[in-house]
Symmetry: C2
Subunit: 345 residues, 2 copies
């Protein structure tokens, strides 16, 4: 089954394919680009003609003619984070349906790599970008983003300095505030908060929810129980270990990310502190670890696959209609109460 080589002279053209299939040239293009609005019958006819003639299209050459590469750049901090894995899956599906391929880059949370990747994607002539910045305030990265003349959709980020961006954001503050409320109702007053830095929107919004939850009850915020750091299990393991070792430890913890939850649980297991019993626990984003933990973990959840789909939809609508301006869609969060949150004994 070796690949067939043909001399350039004998290579059939797209025009010959259209003639043989007895369809318009544009129809052949649509089939080649896996465009969704192609009937089954049309796809079959064109595919048969391609096969009969041994035609091998070069989409790179045609993208140079059309000015569209039918590719979308996707910049995430860590594709191995279950959060981003689900988002990527949702976005990939929608993009594929609309005939776009996804160029995935993984910055590992390094802001300078992210900047270089955004630049490289521009040079690669992507038709649009979906980006979860590692730092919303880094000037060089924002300048790179602003250079993109094609649409940009942010994933749970805000960049007022680059007003041309669309965004999918989540209502973290409401969810975390509800979680704090639940803990107050259960009698807790010393609630620890372990979360990501405020350099990105989820960090700011979750902190806001935590503070608002206290303000609503007119309870002083226990400032000594707040730990903000990088999105790594190691940080959370240290932070939770530290919080549970102080003289007056928290009776409840909000560990505000699925990545941080892994580290937080490691610390609690290592110290032999039973969840729900000696310390109530809330996390953010539902993953199997939380559901199948003993006891199951209360979480502030959201539809991650929908986030990815929505980001792709916002991008596609602007690519297909350049008249459409940037817009921001807010997705809700839901508090899922399980037995890791219990009444203060």
């Amino acid at each position: 089954m070796g690949g067939k080589k043909q001399s350039p002279r004998s290579r059939p053209t797209i025009k010959e394919v259209a003639e043989r299939a007895n369809v318009a040239l544009s129809s052949v293009s649509r089939v080649l680009n896996e465009h969704p609005d192609v009937s089954y019958e049309m796809r079959e006819r064109v595919t048969r003609a391609i096969h009969d003639l041994g035609y091998e299209p070069n989409l790179i050459a045609s993208s140079l003619r059309s000015g569209s590469t039918r590719t979308i750049g996707f910049v995430v901090a860590n594709v191995a984070n279950p959060l981003f894995a689900d988002i990527t899956r949702g976005a990939a599906r929608r993009l594929e349906e609309a005939g776009f391929s996804m160029v995935l880059t993984n910055s590992d949370g390094e802001a300078s790599r992210e900047e270089r990747m955004i630049r490289l994607l521009r040079w690669r002539q992507v038709d649009g970008l979906i980006v979860a910045l590692a730092d919303e305030h880094r000037r060089e990265t924002l300048q790179e983003l602003a250079q993109h003349e094609t649409p940009v959709v942010l994933l749970d980020r805000e960049t007022p300095e680059v007003p041309s961006t669309s965004a999918v954001i989540c209502d973290h503050a409401t969810g975390v505030s509800q979680a704090v409320d639940l803990l107050f109702e259960l009698g807790h007053r010393r609630i620890g908060f372990v979360s990501v830095l405020e350099a990105i929107r989820p960090g700011r919004e979750r902190l806001r929810g935590y503070l608002e939850g206290h303000a609503k009850r007119e309870v002083d915020v226990p400032r000594d129980l707040i730990r903000l750091g990088p999105l790594t299990p190691g940080f959370a393991e240290e932070a939770v270990g530290d919080l549970m070792s102080i003289e007056s430890p928290p009776t409840a913890l909000v560990v505000a990310s699925n990545v941080l939850l892994v580290g937080g649980l490691r610390a609690l297991h290592r110290m032999g502190i039973p969840v729900g019993d000696r310390v109530s626990l809330v996390s953010c984003d539902d993953i199997p670890l939380g559901e199948l933990h003993s006891p199951p973990i209360t979480v502030v959840d959201r539809d991650r696959t929908r986030m990815g789909e929505m980001a792709a939809e916002l991008l596609i609508e602007r690519i297909q209609n350049p008249e459409v301006g940037p817009r921001t869609v807010t997705l809700p969060t839901q508090l899922v109460v399980r037995s890791s949150t219990a009444a203060l004994g």
Copy 2:
């Protein structure tokens, strides 16, 4: 910070960039393609010249000239599977270091979508492919693979019909056989086996390990305890629920995938069957769920990030040196014993 538009006439050329930076044209190309073998000083000089002149390269146009798009197609069944997420991360990192971008496609395990994606990636002129086929035997997909004149690396798959492929494979059989051995030592004789279908190599190899583990002890294989199905939590939940409901249920289970483990645990939790106590449990691929479960789960582990790195390395070596033939690298598995496997009471 709006993007600057320039008339085509005033657009600076790559030659002017090379002249201003006082370097060779090829050096400018290497910087533009994020090639790894570029000194810091060279990158700085070229970047400064690019910036001073306002040069905006079009890598699509240059790939048409060079015949290389510096892109790699990556075909996975489900990027949200923690297994693939880690592999993707490892591969993305290595590819980036070598100056390649990754075009990610997600087939959701549908063989016909996979075939279309492999074809589309060829038409997009990728320089190579990394593929985890949903089905190793599907003729149409194998024909598409064989059409690729650029190198192909398989992820834990075997396609003797397409001998030009390289592969990274894992020694699942040894790991699963060791797990069965451990269970025998603990006194178990009725060991259930819930795994993926034999259409892909990990399915075949894990089954082989299970059978060999029995053969070594000259114990008859309990055929009624084998359940093979699709890689979904739903299948495993049903299979485990079913196995634990038969008249003579297994005293131990090998649930041979992290995706299947989620479903298997759901069934056991729902039925109130304590792991380790009433049924010993082994899974494959270590994820936080297994480590932080109560009790922690014994697993046949492997280095998933290394798998991705190795796949990228095998691909890059063949792209950089077309004389290199296909080769297969086998990575080991390790049995990590935890308290989910206990002596038969």
